[in-house]
C-alpha cells in the first residue's frame, strides 16, 4: 500500500543537536567560540597569527584548524605559541559539529578564554553547519570584489562580524568599502564591520576591542 507521510524535519537536525552539545561545553567553560569563515586566501591564518601574537598577554586563545589536506596553517598558528588542533576534512568542504567534539577532547578548555575555529576556505558550505559558536566571523579580502555579500548571502546574513581584509591594497583594486558594507548590512543590519590589514596591522585595534569585550561577556 502506498503511503504519504508528512515529516517536516530539518535535514541538518543531527548536526544541530551536536551543536547544542557544543554550546553547553563552551558555556560550562566560559569560553568564547568563534567560527571563522572565508574564501581560500582571504587571510584567516594571517588574522589568527596577528591576533594570537598581539593579545597573548590578555587572552588565553587556542585554534581548531580545519583544512582539506595539509597542516600548514596549524603549524603557522602553533608557531605563535597558541595551542592548535588540526582537523583534516580530506576534501570535505566544511567542518561539522562531530569533528569539533572530537577535536575538543585534545584541549584543556578550562584554561582558555577564546576558541577560534578556522573553517575550511569556502564561502558557501560552512554557513550551513552550526558549530555551536557564539558568533560567525567572516573575512573578505578587498581583492575578491565587493559583490561577494550579494553572491553568497547566507554567510553574510549569519555572521556577527565582517572583517574586510587587505585594505592596504585598496588603491590597486576596484573595491568599494561602503558598497560591501551596505550589501552586508542589507540583510544583516547588526553585522559589525572592521576594515583591516593583517599585513600592516591597520584597523586591527577595533577588532581586538570587540574580541576582548566578547570574551569578557562569556565570563558573566
Amino acid at each position: 500500500m502506498s503511503k504519504a507521510i508528512p515529516v517536516i524535519r530539518n535535514i541538518l537536525d543531527a548536526n544541530n543537536r551536536l551543536a547544542d552539545q557544543l554550546r553547553n561545553v563552551y558555556a560550562e567553560n566560559n569560553l568564547l567560540a568563534l567560527n571563522l569563515m572565508s574564501s581560500p586566501g582571504a587571510g584567516k591564518t594571517s588574522l589568527l597569527e596577528r591576533t594570537l601574537n598581539d593579545l597573548r598577554d590578555e587572552l588565553r586563545m587556542a585554534v581548531i584548524e580545519g583544512d582539506l589536506q595539509t597542516d600548514n596553517d596549524a603549524r603557522r598558528v602553533a608557531a605563535t605559541g597558541a595551542q592548535a588542533v588540526q582537523i583534516n576534512t580530506e576534501g570535505g568542504c566544511h567542518l561539522d559539529s562531530s569533528m569539533i567534539l572530537e577535536a575538543l577532547k585534545q584541549m584543556d578548555l578550562a584554561a582558555l578564554d577564546v576558541l577560534f575555529i578556522e573553517n575550511v576556505g569556502n564561502l558557501v558550505c560552512p554557513a550551513e553547519f552550526d558549530l555551536g559558536e557564539r558568533a560567525k566571523v567572516t573575512l573578505l579580502s578587498v581583492t575578491e570584489g565587493d559583490d561577494k555579500p550579494e553572491k553568497y548571502p547566507m554567510m553574510f546574513a549569519q555572521s556577527k562580524v565582517l572583517l574586510l581584509n587587505k585594505i592596504d591594497l585598496l588603491p590597486y583594486v576596484d573595491f568599494d568599502l561602503d558598497r560591501a558594507t551596505r550589501f552586508a548590512r542589507a540583510l544583516n543590519p547588526e553585522i559589525v564591520v572592521f576594515p583591516v590589514s593583517c599585513r600592516t596591522g591597520e584597523g586591527l585595534e577595533p577588532w581586538y576591542v570587540w574580541l576582548k569585550e566578547a570574551a569578557l561577556a562569556e565570563r558573566r
Binding site: A4, I5, V7, L12, N15, H94, E128, M154, A186, L187
Partner: protein, 118 residues
Amino acid sequence: MHEMSIADALIRIVETEMANHGLRTVQRITIQHGALSTMVPEALDLAFEAMTRGTALEGAVLEYEKVPLSLRCSKCETTFSPEVRSLHFAPCPSCGEEFAHAVLTGKELNIAHIEGDT
C-alpha cells in the same frame, strides 16, 4: 560539495521514518529549501543516488520545493518577497526602507514528506 553531508543526514532521517511507519520502499522524498539555502539540488541528487545504490532507498526521487525569501520591513512591518537576485537591494515596497528587515522564510532545509509502500 556539502551535499554529501546533507544526503547522509537525509538518508538517516528517511530510514528512521521508514522504520516508524513500516515502509519497505520509498518512491519520493520532498525537500523544502529556502532561497537563502546554499544547497544545490543537482549535487544533492547525485550524492543521494551514489549513496543509496543497493539500499531500500535506491531509485527514490528527490522532489524540490523552493521556499521564497520573505522579509518583514523593519520600519512599517509590511511583509514582502524581493527577487533573490536583488536580495541586497530590497527596499520595502510600501515605505522604501532598505535595511534591517527580518527574514521570515528562506533559510529552510527540510524534509517535507515521504511517499512509499508498506
